[in-house]
Symmetry: C2
Subunit: 317 residues, 2 copies
């Protein structure tokens, strides 16, 4: 009997889901609105109706669905509960695992977006076959997932792998949304890249096209780098330098085989990686120097959320 | 059939070993010289003769010995090999696991001293029952062991948990033996404490008894603190501040339930802990604030090396 898993990615606007084969092919997919659901109860009913329809349309029996994985903001793997999610329209905590299992009678595994992405990379992507790697998701924030000795680290209360909030040495006092200063994500998130670009522009009077863009975004910085703009290239060099320096300390934790970059900012990996590798090797203990590969995610971005969530099913336990 | 394990601790001068019950009682113990063994072959033969004698004298059959655990400098859990140990009189690498298993026909597990101490604490000490904790051994250097999700982290090549070589933010450029600057161990090892004491003395003209001690040691700093010397107390406050600040970032990795201090410097925990707790809570992400206990090892120092090595047997795999 061919087995499948279901991956669900809950975003603030929409929830997408898909039926996934063990090889990481999305057989069928669908979506429901997150924002427009009037209550969590109504949302769960609409979502489950969509899932049942998807399974029926694929012509498989529900017994072939081995489990459901869910990636959601602020979701705790240990408890299956969404805790204090400011992006969702309903009050937290939300006992998501319990609600879905009660409605569907299938085992549900819940984790945050970064951990889901990590499991997706391990099952179908650049980390296939790896037992020791680290994933950094460079997007609106900086999330992370750590796999060590074959296990995704979750920790005592499910909050392991918050590397985006590790402090950068030699920072300049950048305020982070968490209330602290110089967290990695103030340098390497999308808005962190924009801050760095502003620093670069302020330090010279170079004629960069970035100066003419109102409300500069990290995507704009990337586009300017693609056109060869030196200030944009310098921005990504500095981003890579901070990443490499910080990851040099991360290596002392879990001795990873690879560090995998994912998310919007990671699209600029060709500009980030040379500086990141150099800074890593200059700052790492000799045991890790030249031994940790820096890779980019190999999953298509449009599919990675569903694939990552579905991979929770294969890797659970 | 009552089961036992054997713990072996290989030091540069002597090798100590003991027969240990599942409850952490040392039934019988012995030692051989490390330094005086003319070759690794001769050393293994002498050690194994001692082990056989110990088992026979305890009146148990060798079938009751479930396994042998060895703590040794620079020993790699993944390979069972001692790599580049400058403290031992024979050339590295030394395939210790293979040599002992061939001679004794019993499964041997090998790891470095800090990981052995970590397993000892988990089996018999302050971390009993914990699945997520971190151990910092504050001695000649700073070693560490990390248990997360119930597993001792070893990593891709066995070098996970080198937290003594993570960098301290806002350091002052202290050179470390590894060739880098401001590693945690330059502040929190025995010699790191002495450097801090010298800083404290240089900053004022206070009348500290530490000024009159030639070749000041961390033990002297402790003795002066015990006498109420303000400069010595300030030294441990600063040590605690660096530990707390650095551990705040460590928490983002593995979400530990507790951080356990061990080793000579940890004897001063009553002077270190208040500043460490304060700095931890001031610097940690809100998820960890007030949630991580700082404890000292509860194993007698004279027994901890044998106990830690023996615990590898129970926790292996």
């Amino acid at each position: 009997m061919t087995r499948y898993s279901i991956g669900i990615d809950i975003g603030g606007t929409n929830t997408v889901y898909g039926l996934v084969s063990t090889r990481g092919e999305i057989i069928s997919a669908g979506s429901v609105s997150t924002r427009e659901a009037p209550s969590i109860g109504e949302y769960i009913r609409t979502l489950c109706a969509g899932l049942r329809e998807m399974v029926a349309a694929a012509g498989i029996s529900s017994a072939q669905v081995q489990g459901i994985g869910v990636g959601a903001p602020c979701a705790n793997y240990a408890t299956g509960v969404i805790e204090a999610a400011t992006d969702l329209p309903w009050p937290s905590p939300i006992p998501l695992k319990e609600l879905l299992e009660r409605e569907l009678g299938i085992t549900v595994t819940v984790t945050n977006d970064a951990n889901a992405a990590t499991e997706g990379e391990r099952s179908y992507g650049a980390a296939r076959g790896m037992s020791n790697f680290m994933m950094l998701t460079l997007g609106t924030g900086v999330g992370s997932g750590i796999v060590c000795n074959g296990h995704l680290l979750t920790g005592h209360r499910g909050f392991a792998g918050e590397l985006g909030h590790c402090s950068v040495r030699g920072g300049e006092g950048r305020p982070c949304g968490c209330g602290r200063l110089d967290c990695l994500q103030t340098f390497c998130s999308a808005s962190g890249v924009v801050s760095t670009a502003r620093n670069v522009l302020a330090e010279s009077d170079c004629d960069s096209p970035m100066r003419r863009i109102k409300d500069l975004t990290s995507r704009d910085v990337f586009d300017c780098a693609e056109m060869g703009d030196e200030a944009a290239l310098e921005t990504f060099r500095r981003t890579g330098e901070v990443l490499g320096r910080t990851c040099a300390d991360f290596a002392s934790f879990s001795d990873p085989e690879a560090i995998i970059l994912f998310g919007g900012v990671a699209k600029a990996i060709k500009y980030i990686r040379p500086a990141m590798e150099k800074a890593f090797d200059e700052n790492a203990l000799h045991l890790y120097r030249g031994r940790v590969r820096i890779l980019s995610s190999s999953l298509p971005e449009s599919e990675s959320a569903i694939l990552g969530a579905s991979a929770l099913v294969w890797n659970a336990g």
